[in-house]
Every structure is written in C-alpha cells, then in structure tokens.
C-alpha cells in the first residue's frame, strides 16, 4: 500500500496546490531514481511514451514520439524537477513528502492510471530499495479503487494520502501485467534494525486482495529465508483473514493481530528447513483456522528429521485456545494458551533410527485444561501392545524456556499403576538433547 503512494508521489506531487483534482495516464519505458547525497542534486532519469495529465484543469497530453520529453530528474527536499531538451518543468514537494523517504527506485515498461476513482499500475518491473529493506515486483498489476461515494467526506488536500486510504479498503495485486501471465513475482528483503535479523521472501502471487474487512492471498509458491539458515517453502498457499475496517495506515502489528485472530488457510504442503539445527520438517496441512479464540490445526501427515532420526506423524488434529493478544508465530505465547486449553489427537507417531528397530506410538489423545494434563496412548514394547494413561500437570517456565510436565499418575497394561515404571520406560525411549527426566518430572527445553 505504501507502494501506491510512492509511485504516485514519485511521478507527480501536487500537494502544494490548493485544489487536488488530478488524473494521470502514463506509459513509462524507464524510470530510475536515486536519492542524491544530502537530498539535493541529480536523481535519475525518466523515459516515457505518453503522458496525459489533468491537474486542476491544467491539461497536458504528450506523445513523446521523438523522445524530446525524456527527462533528467533533479530533486531538492521541497522540489522535484525534470529537465528535457526543450525546457524544464517541476513540482513543489511538501517537506514531509513520501518521496523524501525513497532511497532508490526503478520502474520499467509500465502503465499508470491515477484519478479520483483508482490507481491502476501494471509493469514489467518495479523496485524500491532502502538501506534496511527492498521490495521488487515483476510482471505485476496493482489496482486500488475508491469505495467512497459523493456523500463521503471531501478529498483531503493530499491525493497521495487519499489514494493510500483507498488502497487499504480495496487493493488487488496480481500478475495481469500481460494476458496469460499467471502470477506477479514478489521479492522482499528486510533487516531488522534492532535485532539484525534478516528475512528474504520470494513469492509467485496469483492474487493478493485487500477489501474492507478482509485480506486474502493466493500464492502459487512462496519461499522465505530467515538469517540465511531457516527456510520455509509452500506451494499453492491460499489464505484469508480478517482486517480492521478502519485501517488507514501501514500498521504491521495491527494487520498481523487482526489476521491471526480470524484466519483460514486451505490445504497446502510446506517444508521448513533449519540449516543451523540441521532439522527438516515436511508438512501436509489439511487445515488451519482461527476463529472465536480457538485455533484449529489439522495435519494429514508430517515428518521431522534431524541428523540421527526421522519422526513421522499421521492424522494430527489440534484445537487450542488462542487469546486475542497471542502471536501465533511465537512458540512461548502459543504454549501458554495451549496449557489453558488443548485437545490433541494423533493417529500415529513413528520414529525411525538407522540400525535400530522402528518405534511407534498410536492413538494419542492429549487434553489439557488450566494446567491439568491427561494423556492416552498405545505403544508397542517388546512386541506387546500397551495402552497407557498418564495424568499430571503441565507448566511453562517462560524465563528458562522450558515446559515442565509433572506425572502424578500412570496406568500401564495389566493393571499396573506405577509412575516410576512409566518414567523408567520413558527414560529409555524419549530422553534426548531437549528432553530430560528427573524423578517424575519431564522437562522439555524450547
């Protein structure tokens, strides 16, 4: 959405004018802009085919046939100028103009229409590069529509601001740069100023739609890389989520919060690779839904591999409480909610280690409610099928990033009721780098 404002402002800034009626229809071959040192001086070039502009009744229809309007760009903090063979023209800028925040941008083979009703820009390539972040779009169309009617408040004195607020209520990004082009290519890079964390996202966007109270996306493929070591990839990602109706600015936290409290992701296959930890997840997700403070997650199958073993999971169903403030991408926050309320069932968990017999646990049911824990499972030990019921308490140690499970009762096969025996078997099977057992307490490091 910031994109639309920047495109608009970069090409025309009429904010200094008292009236703001504006329509623009441009065919651009190449626009290159690089903010000069200290914000003053030559700033790039503009080569265009045609320009039809009506700015408060000043009408300019240019067919740039002999390239005589090809321009060099000159910028000051409050002025944007274009110099051509035949003369110069330019526009005043507001001191806080968004153009002053642009470091570097490029636009190739693009068409732009902007008026009271719409922003419609399609192009072969568009980039915005700043010190800590960059965004690149290839073979794209971006369309924002004004949903207000004539009874709505009058436009402000800034067409850029008006168009941005329109984009927050009706925006579509897709690959309709040319007929039969299935998807827009989006690349996004960001380096967090505080943590130094790096994120790279690459997506083939079939459609990304913002509407009054909903955001939906259809990605042919999406890949993300965090800190050069954590890779997530998914194909055919379809999601829709809620959006704040009154959203008027790019508030990422607000957008994320609304979205993660009412979310629906259609079936997809995803993989997560952690190069540092040398682990690999492959997930065949049936459904992920968040609605009315409950998260529903269904997995057809999944596998988790590290350097020594592979664990496969089949038919997992998980429901858990999701408080409004909980960030679904924060494991600690999610676990905190899970302890309050969870229903989990897994048809089978199977562990495979080279040179060892496979071990499997079936028909697992886990209930937790306000820290009380109940687990049912079937395991095979020494060829004997054993049904186990475990009762206990579960608590999260946020400071230590540990999950502590205290087993208070264990019902084992043949009427045996022994926590000690259970812990003995668990010590033999589940203790690892992240799981330790001390007396009747199982500690999982997160």
């Amino acid at each position: 959405m910031k994109l639309s404002a920047i495109i608009f402002c970069l090409l025309f800034s009429f904010a200094a004018l008292s009236e703001t009626k504006l329509s623009v229809d441009l065919a651009i071959d190449k626009l290159q802009y690089q903010k000069p040192p200290k914000g003053v001086g030559k700033a790039g070039s503009l080569i265009f085919k045609s320009a039809n502009v009506n700015n408060n009744g000043i009408v300019l229809n240019v067919n740039n046939v002999n390239k005589i309007f090809d321009s060099q760009i000159f910028v000051r903090p409050t002025f944007l100028g274009f110099t051509t063979q035949f003369g110069d023209y330019g526009f005043s800028l507001e001191p806080n103009s968004v153009i002053n925040s642009v470091n570097q941008t490029e636009l190739l083979n693009s068409k732009l229409i902007l008026d009271d009703n719409q922003l419609n820009v399609s192009g072969e390539f568009l980039s915005f590069i700043n010190i800590d972040s960059s965004i690149k779009l290839r073979t794209f169309r971006l369309y924002c529509q004004n949903l207000s009617d004539q009874n709505s408040p009058l436009p402000s004195d800034s067409p850029a601001n008006d168009m941005v607020s329109n984009c927050f209520r009706f925006l579509t990004l897709n690959g309709n740069y040319a007929p039969n082009n299935e998807a827009a290519i989006l690349e996004f890079e960001n380096k967090d100023k505080d943590t130094g964390d790096k994120l790279f996202l690459n997506a083939e966007v079939r459609s990304f739609d913002v509407r009054k109270n909903q955001v939906s996306a259809n990605f042919k493929a999406a890949r993300s890389v965090s800190n050069d070591s954590y890779f997530i990839s998914a194909d055919n990602l379809n999601l829709s989520c809620a959006k704040d109706e009154d959203l008027k600015e790019m508030d990422l936290n607000k957008i994320k919060k609304a979205c993660l409290n009412e979310l629906k992701i259609a079936p997809l296959k995803a993989s997560i690779v952690d190069k540092a930890a040398k682990t690999n997840f492959n997930l065949d997700i049936k459904d992920l839904t968040v609605l009315d403070k409950i998260a529903y997650f269904t997995l057809n199958s999944g596998s988790f591999s590290d350097t020594v073993s592979t664990t496969t999971i089949s038919n997992l169903m998980l429901n858990f409480q999701k408080e409004t403030e909980t960030d679904l991408l924060d494991l600690i926050q999610v676990l905190k909610d899970c302890i309050s309320y969870t229903r989990l069932s897994i048809a089978e968990i199977k562990n495979t280690k080279p040179d060892e017999k496979d071990s499997a646990v079936k028909n697992i049911l886990v209930n937790s409610s306000n820290g009380a824990l109940l687990v049912h499972a079937e395991a095979k030990y020494l060829g004997i099928k054993a049904k186990v019921t475990i009762t206990g308490r579960i608590a999260l140690d946020e400071a230590q990033r540990q999950l502590n499970i205290t087993v208070t009762d264990a019902r084992l096969p043949m009427g045996i009721n022994s926590v000690k025996l259970l812990m003995y078997f668990l010590k033999k099977t589940i203790v690892s780098k992240n799981i330790s057992i001390n007396s009747n307490i199982i500690t999982v490091s997160l």
């Binding site: 009744g57 229409i113 009271d116 009703n117 719409q118 579509t172 309709n176 007929p179």
Partner: protein, 115 residues
C-alpha cells in the same frame, strides 16, 4: 387507451434522447444524465448505475466513475468539447480499468440529449 398510446409514441423519441448523452457501441449502452449527474452502463458484464460520477470538459468531455460489481473504474471520453445541440452525434471512447486489465473501447456513438 388510444390517447395513452399516442402520448407514449410521441414521448418515446424525446425520452430516448433525454439526459446529457446516450452512448452505444462495442457492446455497451451508456446513459448519462445531468441534474443530478448519473451514469448507467449496460453490456459486457455490466448492468449497473455508476458511482462517483464526475464530468470535466477540456478538449473533450470526460465522464468518470466507478462500479463495485464488477469492480472497475470507468472513463467515457466524448469528442464534444462544446456540449453540442440536442440530437447531435459524437464519437466516444470508453476506458474500463479493472484489477485484471485496462481495456479501451473505441467507436462509441454518443448522442447529445436535452439536459
């Protein structure tokens, strides 16, 4: 009954050129009325009143607006800068801008109405 029919027959030609413009061609019928300014578009998937209708005149007469179903922004350009006499005919273009494409329809025939 006869009188009603007669009145209707006499009124029909007048009604058909009522409004500011009536444009047709390329599968569209577009009615533009003034006082208040209104536009209706029919054809090629449209059958709706247009919202946010605005008119400007410079070298041409330009009427813009938008529709929600389907989502689009419309611009009718009529090669009539002088708001000619009722019944005069002018060439027109329609630009339909949508999330899918920007399409130009040329060769519309626009008849100036009485408004």
């Amino acid at each position: 009954m006869k009188k009603t029919l007669l009145a209707f027959t006499l009124l029909l030609p007048a009604l058909s050129i009522a409004g500011v413009y009536n444009c047709s061609g390329s599968g569209f019928i577009i009615d533009i009325a003034g006082m208040p300014l209104e536009m209706k578009i029919v054809g090629n998937g449209f059958n709706t009143m247009v919202t946010n209708v605005r008119a400007t005149s410079n070298f041409d007469t330009i009427i813009t607006g938008s529709t929600l179903n389907p989502p689009s922004s419309l611009k009718v350009t009529i090669k009539d800068s002088s708001f000619g006499n009722p019944g005069d005919s002018f060439k027109g273009n329609l630009q339909v801008s949508t999330p899918e494409e920007v399409k130009e329809y040329r060769g519309l025939n626009c008849i100036r109405g009485n408004d």
